[in-house]
Symmetry: C2
């Protein structure tokens, strides 16, 4: 696929898509006036819409309202509304608060409340201060623009940078644009779901095929990310597709669908890697690539087990080539593989080093290993002898700062 | 059951059992001469023997040799041999090294090599320095005594204190003694298996019923412990039963079996809690008690999910009553429960506080909560409305020291 891409912060991420505007303001949920806490994304026209949400049995009130809305409209929506600073999960009056925040925006924009995808992120169990959200809504609507950054910032919690990507490609001679924003950082181990990621495109695609593409894409991207093994109550990846690019609507599996899926994968993988890179307290992005697995599911599970291991993550923080921890994490993953035929290599910008062949330790240059693992992006390359399938998973190191951030999150 | 118990370090743990001796020496696997690294436990007579081992697909060479031996003898053994400082897993020549260390001890003691339970603990992937083990074996055998401490110390890795318990009870008018030692600390998330725990008793019980009791007991003790979610390649709980107490041999399920199981549970739960309390970098023991679950399996899985959550563990380190993290961990556990009827209370020596009722946050006194969570042993009490089953799980807080220890383990 010919894909022109950019990481969006200067050229626009979600607002790189024609017909979409976004805004992010400080309405007062957070005490710090410099931290935006309310975001809105608006399409000029009604869009095909799809969402993938957390598998956690405990689900936030706005997440449940979103699923109701999408069922009611048959997969159509015009807007995405999201606050940070409060998750509106296990909170007194949570459902009423979610309805009220949507109604305030719906009234201001003069569109039906069922046209909203809505979510919240932050601390669990405290009442959502919905009055300050309602009071801030006129300003939020007034600030809608093609600047992507305020909305990307307004959904951040302990993230240290906004995450935003866009790409442009062609379908049937028509230029199609896709862009997205995401937040991650803590309580991150999506499972058939995501952290918060909001994607927009002007591609013409039916709600059914949009949902299918989103599910396929989240499986290989956000679902392969783990920061701390905790799957949140509010995870959501939602997408709006306006159809204004003018391509023939995608209504089934075809070459156009594959093109669209490639572009969606590019955006979601880019955002997923940024989420791992910006995990709470993280100093490094860890990529574990498994090849030679008997099935994709085995490869996916093995790679995720490795990047989820606290011992692997701590060793990577310390630039310690203690590869026995990778072997151990493969072994308890629950996936099928031959434990006697495992090769392990570490690589980064600096170079590559083999540390284990056929499941037995190799002598290796500790100084070179330390230099490789001292970089900001590390690949753990594991080759099996069981088949032809491969997968990647994305994580980060475990650091003193993770403990500091989470030992005292609420204060 | 009338049970007289003691925590063994002064009165003897495993050596409190008549007919058992133990030794622990520094043979030279570790550089630090003050750290013992080789342990031996010897019974005067052949015993019924049983073991439960790791579910990790990658298993250490000595662990595999132990399973072969027990199969060969039909569940009989006289000795337990274990080194620390090297796991002999994924190591060049691992099987030969395991055989060689057993043969050295078998020759010295003049018993058959198949009478040995053997294991190793430490770093993965490096050749076991079996020559220093063989050279140290005469001294090891010479130092056999009724002092429990040297052996308990010799199996320690990053443990900060030796773990040892014993208990005395009666079966059919005969006094029976049971005692054990264990090590834990890191790479600890046993699953149908344990860290290293070695138990001895003079109870008369068949190998089959001994294996059954051990499996039942590890399920509610070590398998409900998690320090860091990493299930080791070397986990093992082994037991020797000499039969010299003179009770009628237990050969089936009966009142005597239940008495024995109660005593075994007491030893294993005591050691399991010590392992959690002494988790790498830990400052606190966390106990999560689930009641009102629909099945035992649900209760066990829910409690283990809570004490395994990095976010819960970090919050406990910070004495932060951020109970939404417990709700979240229940939700992603995979267990069945009604997420709308959850009550949560925290308790410790200082007092008790309710923070969530029917899945909604309660207003609570933050100062009292901080005081409760400031203690060294915290109970997270979660009540469901789904049935009559309960379970406990045991963990520890996640601290800066966990990261420090594991960021630089090999150096």
């Amino acid at each position: 696929m010919k894909l022109e891409s950019w990481s969006g912060l200067s050229k626009g991420g979600i607002t790189a898509v024609p017909g979409f505007k976004a805004a992010g303001i400080h309405c007062g949920i957070r005490k710090n006036r410099d931290k935006r806490d309310l975001a809105l994304i608006l399409a000029e026209t009604e869009c095909a819409a799809a969402a993938v949400v957390t598998t956690n049995k405990v689900k936030s009130a706005p997440l449940l309202l979103t699923m109701e809305n999408l069922a009611k409209t048959g997969g159509r929506a015009r807007a995405i509304l999201c606050n940070s600073g409060n998750a509106n999960a296990c909170a007194p009056g949570g459902t009423e608060a979610a309805v009220k925040m949507v109604n305030a925006a719906a009234n201001e924009l003069n569109i039906d409340p069922s046209q909203f995808i809505v979510n919240s992120t932050g601390v669990i169990g405290f009442p959502l201060p919905v009055d300050v959200i309602a009071a801030g809504t006129p300003e939020l609507v007034q600030k809608l623009s093609t600047d992507n950054i305020p909305a990307a910032e307004a959904i951040m919690t302990t993230d240290t940078f906004p995450k935003s990507y866009a790409a442009r490609f062609e379908i049937g001679g028509k230029t199609v644009t896709i862009g997205g924003i995401a937040k991650g950082s803590g309580m991150i181990n999506p499972n058939m779901a995501t952290m918060l990621a909001f994607i927009a495109t002007d591609c013409a695609i039916s709600p059914k095929m949009l949902q299918k593409a989103l599910r396929e894409s989240t499986k290989i991207s956000y679902n392969q990310v783990s920061v701390d093994g905790d799957t949140s109550t509010n995870d959501m990846c939602a997408i709006l597709a306006s159809g204004t690019a003018g391509n023939a609507e995608i209504t089934g599996e075809c070459a156009d669908y594959d093109e669209f899926l490639d572009a969606l994968n590019f955006i979601n993988l880019s955002l997923a890697k940024d989420i791992a890179r910006d995990g709470e307290g993280a100093t490094k992005l860890l990529i574990c690539r498994i090849s030679g697995a008997a099935t994709y599911e085995d490869a996916a599970r093995l790679s995720k087990s490795v990047i989820s291991s606290s011992l692997v993550k701590s060793a990577m923080f310390g630039a310690d080539a203690n590869w026995g921890r990778e072997m151990c994490a493969l072994g308890y993953s629950g996936a099928n593989f031959n434990p006697a035929t495992v090769d392990i290599r570490f690589s980064s910008y600096v170079g590559e080093i083999a540390v284990c062949r056929q499941s037995v330790g190799l002598p290796f240059d500790e100084d070179l290993a330390a230099a490789i693992l001292g970089e900001k992006e590390i690949t753990i390359e594991i080759t099996l002898a069981d088949g032809d399938f491969s997968a990647e998973a994305y994580g980060c190191d475990l650091t003193y700062d993770y403990v500091r951030i989470n030992g005292d999150y609420r204060t």
